[in-house]
């Protein structure tokens, strides 16, 4: 007997999937950072995405039309920022219908971050009852959130770009406060974070204030981070301070990574002694013959009058030279200070002597270090500062 096998030749089932927004709530929302409001707010009125799966049987065995009720293994994935997560049944942000005529429907009860859309990926399986062939149905739908904020966050700090610090007359400390404005209103405190950084001239890089506990003695950031106190008398010759702001609409600014696009302000503090004059007084040019020493006093002044405590930043050096009939004089350093006692031993009986005064800047305060760049500390771990 000669046999041959015969099979039904089913033509492939045609499966279509499309997505529609069910109801009046749109799948595109806006966020206004000024009011902190989403429109519409999906936590109040959720958006509903309905996948519509239909089949078409060219053999006309199966009825054409919607087959949502036959879907199995329905899954939705959330993709945010390239990270794909399966939406579990206990996910409070979503509600998925797994059976019935509307099987596959997803209710989105969370808001998207602005300009970071939530991509919802749909997955379901359908078995062709004619051939038991498994069809996998997939598709994506996006939830957009546009930024409708009228104003972007603007950082301002109450300090000039460059502050000239005159150690002879200016206050030692200066408090700088930062402010982040959204339009005309101050940004809510839970949505922003200020980061204060100091320029490190050795590393040629910005470092967060407080990271180097030993050497950040000149800047103190307040506990809330809004302001910082710069002790200009301790800063050295100059100090460059940068303030940057982290801003997050969802109230989690700590997770924001700072970048060149972050709101930023840089200010400089420069120590500079203004021009001053000096002279010495208190000694007559003709002194009695038996006087062993003279005690002149120095006077240092500028356009505003006598300097109140010049020895803080300036050092008076006294020289004396035996006077000669001709030729250059040879000055010897004999004393230092504002009111020294200068011996008259150098006075020539015939030509006398010349007393000179020089005033020098002793320079800014800095940490004391050894030849290897290691700073000195006292027993309590406090760094030693010297001029």
């Amino acid at each position: 007997m000669k046999t041959k096998r015969f099979d039904f030749n089913f033509r492939p089932l045609q499966i279509n999937v499309s997505f529609s927004v069910d109801g009046s709530v749109p799948d595109r929302q806006t966020y206004d950072a000024d009011s902190g409001e989403y429109t519409p707010d999906y936590t109040v009125t959720p958006v509903i995405i309905q996948p519509n799966v239909s089949r078409m049987d060219k053999d006309e065995i199966l009825l054409p039309g919607r087959i949502n009720q036959y879907l199995t293994n329905i899954r939705w994935y959330e993709i945010v920022g390239g990270v794909k997560t399966l939406i579990a049944a206990d996910n409070a942000g979503y509600e998925i219908t797994n059976s019935g005529d509307n099987a596959g429907r997803i209710k989105v009860k969370k808001n998207a971050a602005q300009n970071i859309p939530i991509t919802l990926q749909f997955y379901a399986e359908y078995i062709d009852t004619r051939t038991n062939q498994l069809h996998i149905i997939q598709g994506t739908n996006q939830i957009f959130c546009d930024n409708s904020t009228a104003y972007m966050p603007v950082l301002s700090i109450n300090c000039a770009d460059t502050t000239i610090y005159n150690p002879l007359s200016d206050a030692d400390t200066q408090t700088i406060s930062a402010s982040l404005k959204l339009g005309t209103d101050e940004c809510p405190t839970n949505k922003r974070l200020f980061v204060w950084e100091k320029w490190n001239p050795n590393d040629l890089a910005w470092a967060v204030v407080g990271a180097e506990t030993t050497l950040d003695y000149d800047v103190t950031v307040s506990t809330d981070g809004v302001s910082c106190i710069v002790n200009r008398s301790l800063m050295g010759a100059d100090l460059y301070l940068r303030c940057r702001a982290k801003y997050d609409i969802n109230g989690n600014p700590g997770s924001v990574a700072l970048s060149d696009a972050s709101p930023c302000k840089v200010v400089a503090f420069v120590r500079r002694l203004p021009k001053f004059e000096f002279d010495y007084f208190g000694v007559p040019t003709n002194i009695p013959a038996d006087l062993m020493a003279v005690a002149p006093f120095a006077k240092i002044w500028n356009a505003n009058g006598d300097l109140p405590s010049p020895e803080r930043e300036l050092l008076a050096l006294w020289y004396i030279a035996t006077n000669q009939a001709s030729g250059s004089l040879s000055y010897n350093l004999v004393a230092a200070g504002m009111n020294p006692t200068i011996p008259t031993a150098a006075l020539s009986q015939i030509y006398g002597a010349v007393i000179g005064l020089d005033v020098i800047d002793i320079g800014p305060v800095a940490a004391m270090e050894d030849g290897n760049g290691v700073v000195f500390e006292d027993g309590d771990g406090n760094v030693l500062l010297i001029h």
Partner: protein
Amino acid sequence: MARYIKANPKVAVYLHLENDRNTVKDGNYLLWQGDMLAFGPLTQLTETLEQIGGIALLAHEAREEQEGTVTRELPIATDERFVIPSESSTAASESTTETPATDNTESETTNTEKEA
């Protein structure tokens, strides 16, 4: 400015939104302004609200309702299809502080049933 509509369950059922929209503490629903298009254009929102006995809320007010910190009483609908006589009489007779507590229990039970 977008508006959220607080309406009674009869309105939600009429719009087939009882499974799609959130309920608040007193058992009423928070609808989106677009849902009102079934009753007429948004330019006639005031008339629509009178008809269905609903109130329009701003976003922060809607959130207050959602969180249960504030519960606003609904007016009686002029359209008899949406009148809830028992609830309105209860609200009139009971004090405002007790009403939400009672309704809260009811709404929670309803939610549990839905989820189940």
